[in-house]
Symmetry: C2
């Protein structure tokens, strides 16, 4: 029963590509992530993944297209679809996905993050 | 695979207390709702409910407290908890909850809305 302000949460997050949990809804988690540069290509075998841009511009690359998301834009990447998030400048994103979802999906990488760290 | 801008979606929503679906993630729906005045007391027996304030101020009253949410604030009402959303002035809210969740929960009311209308 706690009110959460996203901007305040982001002010305590310094690492890029390190999702932090801010709340839960049933068996889903609401996360924030600060991004800059290119992530890695990956997909999530069992779940869709919701992106909502809080600040900045997020590009999500697909094998045959790219979506460009600005502040206030929302996008759901369907399960099983390869994608590569990217941002030229720092971008703040809210993610929603089932608890236990790994940020690099089907891939192991230096960018793989623990997936249940709260902020 | 469609990018969704929330402000653009809100520009086509004129009725208060009438949630409209803008996207889906697995078996959850992302909805927008425009609110003003008092809703009714209710709870959702089987699910938590996520509120994220896009514009304005939302009060969620509980039996023994009230949370006041401004733009950029997020709150998850736990399942089974009686609550009554309210806004003095027009307020724009994003809701996330399982598909099929009824806006008035355990209550039937003139404010009960069809729960699968897309915008």
């Amino acid at each position: 029963m706690e009110k959460i302000n996203l901007k305040q949460k982001f002010s305590n997050l310094f690492e890029y590509w390190s999702p932090r949990v801010i709340s839960e809804m049933n068996d889903y988690q609401i996360k924030i992530v600060k991004i800059k540069g290119d992530f890695i290509w990956h997909h999530h075998e069992k779940t869709d993944e919701l992106f909502y841009v809080i600040e900045g511009r997020l590009c999500i690359h697909f094998s045959d297209s790219t979506v460009v998301l600005d502040k206030g834009d929302l996008f759901v990447v369907p399960k099983g679809v390869d994608h590569m998030p990217s941002a030229e400048s720092e971008c703040l994103v809210m993610l929603i996905e089932p608890k236990g979802t790994k940020n690099t999906g089907n891939r192991d990488s230096d960018l793989s993050s623990d997936n249940d760290i709260w902020i």
